[in-house]
Symmetry: D3
Subunit: 136 residues, 6 copies
C-alpha cells in the first residue's frame, strides 16, 4: 500500500455562527470568528489517497488526474467564495474546519474510487497554527 | 544602520471593486477577486524598522515594543475583520494589497519614530505567490 | 473521529548528559549536544487531539481552549527556560526530545480529557531535520 | 513506542518512461514528465524509525547514526545523479516517486534494524504539492 | 513606488560544464554539479516589478497579467526541460543560477515594460540553501 | 552585479544582560530573554555576497567555497555553544541579534574579499517572527 498526498490551496471567506443563536451567544462560543462581516483564510488542503503502485505505470494514481478531481469537485466551488453563502456542500453546516473536512471527504470519495484508489485522509490547514485531519 | 524585521499575521475578508463601476466592469478588471460575497486571506505582514544598535541595550528597538505598536495600530483593527467594511484606515480605498501596504505604512510611521527608530519597509504576503513591498 | 492539530513554539536551552557519566563519556555518547555551557533550540510543538465534531458548535474542541491548556501546562513552564534546570516535568530526565515528548504528553493528557477530547499525538521538531512523535 | 523522523535532501534528474512503450505512448501516460532530455527535482526525504527511548541515553536511535545510514545507503548514491541511469537500487524500475519510496525502504530497512530500531515510514516530497508515503 | 513580487516554480535538469574543458577540469571546478548524466532541481523564481499603484484599479500591475508573462516567456520554455539542451535563452551559456537569472531578466524586461511597470529583481532559489538575485 | 545568498543554520544558547546592571534592571529591559539560566534558538543565517558572474565559470563565487568560509569562521565557533561564554567574536558584547549580525559581518568580510567577492548583507533569523539585517 502506497500513500499519495496532493496539496492544493484556496482562499475563502467565512464566519462561524448558528442562525438559531443570538449574536451574543455566537460571540460567546465562536469569539472573533463569528464577526458578522466575515473574515477569511488561505486554506491549505492535503488529500491523501492510497493504493498499490500499478505495475504498468508505477503510480498509485496519476497526480494530474487527482489534481483535476480536486479542482473540479472542491477548488472550483470554494476558491474566492464565501463558504457560508456560496458553497453547496457546506449549506446548512457551521463553517468550522472540522465540518469542511468532512464535507470535502464526501465530495472526493467517489471520484477517487472511480479511478481505482481509496481516499485516506483530508487535511486542512486553516492557519499555520490550526489544522484538522479526517480519515472517514 | 541595522534593520529589524518583525513578522505578524492577520486573517481578513475583502473584495476588490469600485462602487462607481458596474458588477461586469468589476468582474472584468478584478476577476474572481471581486466576488460580491467576499473571500479572504491569511495575510503575513513584515515590518522593517532601521536605526543604530543602541549602546546601552544593543537593540535597534525592543521587539516587544515594536510588536505592541503593530498589534495596537494594525492587527487589532484588521484581524478577523472585513477590510472593505470595518477597517478605518482602508475606508474609501480599493482593497488591493498595494493600498493596504501604503495604509499600514501611514499607521505605523509615527508610533515607530516616537520610539527613536525609522520605518523602512512594509511587506505583505497575500498568498504564498503574491506579495507587495512599500518603502514610503 | 476528527483530529485537531495545534502548533505552538518555545525557545529553550538544554544539554544532553548524565550526571553519573564522566564528561568524556557524555561527549562520546551525546557529542556536541553535551556541551557543559548549554546550547538551545526553537522547538515547534504540535499537539493532536481527537474526538467527534460536536453537534452544537461543530468543533472537536475550541482551539482557544486547547491553546490555553498548552500555554499554561507547557509553554509557560519551558519557554525561555533551561530544560535541565528549570522545567519541573523534566527534572531527573535526560533532556532528549524523546523524553520531552513523553513528559509533555503526561502534562497535557488530563487537561485535554477534562474538555471531552482525547490526546492523540505529541510531535516536537527540534531542528528542521530532527523530529519526534509520541502517541502514548 | 517513540517515532524519530530524520529529514534529508537530494537533487536528481529523472524521466518517467517505459522502454517497451513508444515515445507517443510515454507522452500520453506520463505527460511532460517523460521528456527524453530529462528534468529534475529537489527531493525531500523523511525517514521515520520507531522504538523505545533507551534507558541509558534516552534516544530511540542516535540521530547521527541515522543520518549516516541514510547518507551512505541513499544520499551518496542518488544526490546529483540521474535516477534512471546511475542509481543501482532503481535499475529496471520506472522512476516514479512511488517506486523510489519502496526502493529506499529496502535500502534502509536492514541497516536501521541492525541499530535496534524499526523502519516505520519513508516519505518523499517530489515537489511542494506532490508527496508519497510508504510504510512497508 | 510599490514593489510586487510574484513567485513561480519550475523543475528542470541541468549540469554545469564547459565543452572546451576536459571532464577532469569540469569536475575540478564544478564538482558533482558537472555530472555528465545530469541532475536537477525544483527552482523557485521570484519576479519583482515596481511602479505606482494605478489610481483606477489600485494595482502596480494585475498579478494575472504578470503571471501570464512569466508563464509564457519562462515557465513554458524551462519547466520539465533540460536547461543545457532545450532552453533557447540559455543556449551557449554555462547553466549556473547566475546566468539563469540574467537570462530570465532579459526575457521578462520588455513584456513587463509593455504593461507600464518596471522589472526590478529576479531571484532564483536553486536549493533551500543557495539563491541568486539580479537587479539588471 | 549579481547577489549570491547562502543559508546556514546554528543552534546556540544565550541570554541578554549587562553585568553592570542588577538582575532587576536586566529583567526590566530584556524581559524573559535575560533568564540567568539561559535559553536558546535555532538561528538561520543568510550571507549575501555580490560580484560579477565570472566569465570562465559563470559564478559570483563557488558556493562550496562560501559555505566553507562560513563554516570555519562562524558555524564551527558558535553552533551548539553558549554565545555569551564561548564565542570569541561576541566576548564583551550584549548577545542581541543586532550585535551578532555586526560581529559575523566582521568575521566574514575579509575571507570573502580574499575570494574576489564583496560581502553585502548578513541576515539572522532568531525566531520565525524576529530577524535582523546588517549591510556594513
Amino acid at each position: 500500500m502506497i500513500y499519495l498526498i496532493r496539496r492544493e490551496r484556496f482562499s475563502a471567506a467565512h464566519r462561524m455562527f448558528r442562525q438559531d443563536w443570538s449574536d451574543e451567544k455566537n460571540r460567546e462560543v465562536f469569539g472573533k470568528c463569528s464577526n458578522p462581516n466575515w473574515h477569511g483564510h488561505n486554506y491549505i488542503l492535503r488529500v491523501t489517497v492510497k493504493g498499490e503502485a500499478a505495475e504498468d505505470h508505477g503510480f498509485v494514481m496519476n497526480t494530474n488526474v487527482l489534481k483535476k478531481i480536486i479542482q473540479e469537485n472542491v477548488i472550483a466551488k470554494i476558491d474566492h467564495r464565501n463558504i457560508n453563502l456560496e458553497v453547496d456542500f457546506m449549506k446548512g453546516k457551521i463553517a468550522t474546519t472540522e465540518n469542511l473536512a468532512i464535507a470535502i471527504w464526501n465530495e472526493l470519495k467517489q471520484p477517487i474510487e472511480k479511478e481505482g484508489a481509496q481516499l485516506h485522509c483530508i487535511q486542512i490547514e486553516e492557519t499555520e497554527n490550526n489544522s484538522i485531519e479526517y480519515y472517514g
